[in-house]
């Protein structure tokens, strides 16, 4: 494998692919820096001097290597896995590597985003090239120093060897020379079979800091002279700030100031990621978080109704009406679905629904900001730092060069921290207060001012011929601010007569991306529906799906099918084998498979009912095809997390609204899955295929909801159609 690389096409590749990697491949000339006091494995000796080889890499004279993680870390473990990819091609010993979190740096990196499970997929090539290019330059430097041809040199764990003469030199000894050399035009990438770091389970680089409680998260930020801030936002959607009286609050201990902020002033062009920002809010600044939290409640606010308040019951009615009578966008049509349904021997029909879901990251929204006339420093948990910088530049009429955005480790994201209004709020508060501030939401603020997973309703119909073959398929779906339908995903391409229709519903309730957007609902609905269709066809649910995939492999319908039917079938076959599907586990079991975010997942879920009828998931078998697995332990952790998260939300999760106001505001009324309710066992198997890797932050969540629904049916004899499932189950 070889790849051609110049400064110019490096730039091109990077921009096109994205992934938080190098833009300008600026190899600096031996840039000496004072070693930073970063925590490192205790046995590592810090070098006297660092040589910066490019935007990602510093090498110490003693061979210690610092690799910058460009992308935000939200618990998806990119801070470990992205540097692993560079280290692999660089050819160093992982034990000699220190990982540092990068700041927002649009000169050196692009797509510094955590979202869509894309960091690894889009970073793969560019990160490899970054490591390989640096390695090639180190080899060239060693060739000069050892006075031997570069082609006779080989590298191993940070050392460069000339076997013929027995000479060797360490990366650290040639790094400063390497930094002065030209960037090679072409670099050789490793054959994946020679990987020594990729494919090895590698511990989370922050694990030691996490288990010893070191400050890592945005909420842990402390600065000299820093004040603490809170906000009071409208208690219901449809209300806006009219006026407030802060006399009582200002008289409380520790309270410094109370004022209104406007996050979306007239005439300012905001970013998509500012999302459904609440325009005007009341900000409060004080000497401790607790004092601010207390005093918030003493502010008397008058709100005005600017749009009609909505309720969950109203949404359900409206969505049902849209499904029955609404005008839909015909997103895809194959064959003649109407005629096929008319001649079908059997028609299966079912409707599925799901409520709004808040993100409920365990670390509530928060941000640090210090904004003065000519400078803005922001630091905190954000999935979209570049967009935050743009908004700050617009709001304060600053040049991006005057703005610094740092990324803390995040106590969960799941999509919530794509929408950085909290960063904007912190900046406005800091500017107005004339002090550095740490803004922290209470859990109630966090849960009741969200960018929620939309509520959805979808209706499926399938027509079977007399032999149980699916001859027609129709899906029609709606949801707040958009339909959940992906018209070109399975089972599109498997059925001659196919119709997908989308309807969007307006609302003043803000919604946004939530771990595996739309897939987090539609996968469960589709996979539960196909289970019902398979039953009506008198077929085993895995056989039934494999027949469909077989059709899509041999003779697909249409050209725009967004999946690889062989890989899809592959995970299903693997999970069938691993779960012993064809034998009987004794427990009620359900199966599901789904493809989203470029990875394929199939699951078999076994559950039992306790004496009260409450379900307990005993075991989930999970088969995954995400190409090359960069960090197996980290991958397993993501997959397990997605499974537990999916089961939890499908069983318990719902945010309901009365008069525009969320009915749940903290964990006493909002139910998240807890330890005893988690599956007792999760067994994951990977398809081995050497394909370039794809991400895992999301793909294991969507299908497990279908597997759960199908297992519940086996256990109870009743199909579940409406989430949360516990609404229709005892316990």
């Amino acid at each position: 494998m070889s790849t051609h690389q110049t400064r110019r096409n490096f730039l091109k590749v990077s921009t096109a692919a994205g992934g938080g990697f190098l833009l300008g491949f600026s190899f600096l000339t031996s840039c000496e820096q004072k070693p930073a006091a970063v925590a490192m494995a205790p046995e590592l000796k810090m070098p006297e001097q660092w040589t910066q080889l490019n935007g990602y890499l510093k090498i110490g004279e003693n061979g210690v290597v610092t690799i910058i993680n460009p992308n935000p870390e939200i618990g998806q473990n990119v801070k470990t896995s992205m540097p692993m990819i560079i280290a692999e091609e660089l050819g160093v010993d992982w034990d000699n590597v220190i990982v540092e979190q990068g700041k927002l740096d649009t000169e050196n990196f692009s797509r510094q985003i955590a979202g869509g499970s894309q960091s690894i997929r889009q970073g793969w090539e560019p990160l490899r090239k970054t490591g390989a290019t640096a390695r090639a330059m180190l080899i060239a430097a060693a060739a000069q120093q050892l006075e031997v041809p570069a082609t006779e040199l080989r590298t191993e764990k940070g050392m460069i060897y000339h076997d013929a003469s027995g000479k060797s030199v360490g990366y650290g000894e040639v790094a400063s020379l390497a930094a002065t050399l030209d960037v090679p035009e072409e670099v050789e990438l490793k054959d994946p079979k020679d990987f020594t770091i990729i494919g090895q389970s590698t511990k989370n680089v922050d694990a030691r800091k996490i288990v010893t409680g070191q400050p890592l998260f945005g909420i842990d930020t402390k600065r000299e002279g820093m004040l603490y801030a809170g906000i009071v936002h409208p208690p219901a959607f449809g209300l806006e700030l009219k006026s407030f009286n802060a006399d009582a609050a200002l008289a409380m201990p520790g309270i410094v100031d109370v004022f209104a902020i406007d996050c979306a002033p007239e005439g300012k062009q905001l970013q998509w990621s500012d999302g459904p920002t609440v325009r005007k809010q009341v900000a409060i600044v004080g000497k401790s978080t607790w004092q601010v939290l207390q005093a918030k409640q003493a502010i008397e606010v008058e709100w005005e109704q600017t749009s009609a308040p909505e309720t969950s019951a109203g949404h359900k009615e409206k969505m049902a009406d849209l499904i029955a009578n609404g005008k839909a966008e015909e997103a895809r049509r194959d064959g003649d679905p109407e005629a096929a349904f008319a001649r079908a021997a059997k028609i299966v029909e079912a409707t599925y629904s799901a409520p709004f879901l808040p993100h409920n990251t365990m670390e509530p929204m928060n941000f640090f900001a210090h904004v003065t006339e000519d400078k803005a420093e922001l630091y905190g948990p954000i999935q979209t730092p570049e967009f935050l910088e743009k908004t700050i530049a617009t709001l304060f009429d600053m040049d991006p060069a005057q703005i610094e955005v740092g990324m803390s480790r995040m106590g969960g994201g799941f999509g919530r921290r794509l929408y950085g209004s909290f960063g904007v709020e912190a900046a406005l508060i800091s500017k107005a207060a004339g002090a550095p501030v740490q803004l922290t939401y209470s859990r109630e603020d966090d849960m009741t001012q969200g960018t929620y997973r939309p509520d959805y309703l979808v209706k499926y119909r399938a027509g079977l011929d007399a032999d149980g073959n699916m001859i027609a398929f129709h899906v029609r779906g709606t949801g707040t601010h958009g339909s959940p339908i992906f018209e070109n995903r399975f089972p599109a391409g498997t059925t001659d007569n196919y119709l997908a229709e989308k309807i969007s519903m307006d609302s003043n309730i803000s919604t946004g991306a939530w771990r595996a957007p739309a897939s987090n609902f539609i996968a469960g609905a589709e996979q539960a529906f196909l289970d019902e269709v398979a039953e009506a066809a008198g077929k085993d649910p895995i056989d039934f799906r494999l027949e469909l995939f077989d059709r899509a492999i041999k003779n697909p319908v249409g050209e725009r099918n967004d999946y690889d039917a062989e890989r899809y079938a592959g995970v299903l076959k693997l999970v069938r084998e691993k779960s012993g599907w064809d034998a009987d586990s004794g427990d009620a079991r359900g199966v599901a498979a789904y493809y989203c975010h470029n990875s394929y997942v199939a699951q078999v879920l076994d559950l039992t009912l306790d004496t009260s009828g409450k379900p307990q998931v005993e075991k989930v078998y999970c088969a995954v095809d995400c190409g090359i697995v960069v960090n197996p332990e980290g991958a397993l952790n993501q997959i397990e997390g997605g499974i537990i998260d999916g089961i939890g939300h499908a069983l318990f999760g719902q945010l309901t609204f009365t008069d525009g106001k969320p009915d749940q505001s903290n964990f006493n009324t909002y139910r998240l899955i807890r330890h005893p309710e988690a599956p007792r066992q999760i067994e994951t198997s990977f398809v081995e295929n050497g394909i370039a890797p794809t991400g895992l932050g999301e793909p294991s969540l969507p299908p497990v909801i279908g597997a759960l629904a199908n297992a519940l049916y086996q256990a109870t004899g009743e199909r579940v159609y409406d989430q949360p499932f516990m609404g229709s189950l005892p316990g």
Binding site: G75, T212, L216, L293, M362, G641, G648
Partner: protein, 155 residues
């Protein structure tokens, strides 16, 4: 406002606070032990778990006025061990438990307290003992295994 002396991680600290101020905010904002986390503020999530005389308590539910008496010994994650060598911390590293990591100091404090009381917990004991700590990332199966490993190290 009043003056209190509290013992945290083996040291006596003087703090000035309103009597109802939760211990959580005193240790985070005043003493700077930020390993103890804020998750809900109402005793539901366990992110703020500390030990008071070796027993897991929700620090968001303990007013400062109630923990400064009787020479109570308060331990936060930073004080669970000198350098992360407590068997629970070691087991957490071995199982690579954390995803985002935010809930984990509370999880470990609950686990350490559970093992203080029941050195060899059954699955049921672990389920009960850990039910008060929420993890949105879904690390429960790893936590479960890590508690068992830690129990093995302690015995």
């Amino acid at each position: 406002m009043a003056n209190y002396t509290i013992n945290v991680n083996g040291k006596a600290h003087q703090v000035e606070a309103a009597p109802e101020t939760p211990l959580l905010w005193v240790i985070r904002d005043e003493l700077g032990y930020v390993g103890t986390k804020f998750g809900c503020g109402i005793g539901q999530c366990g992110a703020c778990t500390v030990h008071i005389d070796g027993v897991a308590m929700r620090s968001c539910q303990q007013p400062i006025s109630s923990v400064s008496e009787n020479n109570y010994q308060i331990t936060t994650i930073e004080g669970l061990s000198e350098n992360g060598e407590h068997p629970v911390q070691q087991a957490w590293l071995e199982h690579d438990v954390p995803q985002c990591g935010y809930c984990q100091s509370g999880q470990m404090m609950s686990a350490a307290s559970l093992l203080n009381q029941i050195p060899n917990p059954t699955d049921e004991d672990i389920n009960t003992g850990m039910a008060g700590n929420i993890c949105r990332c879904g690390t429960y199966t790893r936590i479960h295994a890590a508690v068992k490993t830690a129990a093995g190290k302690l015995s």
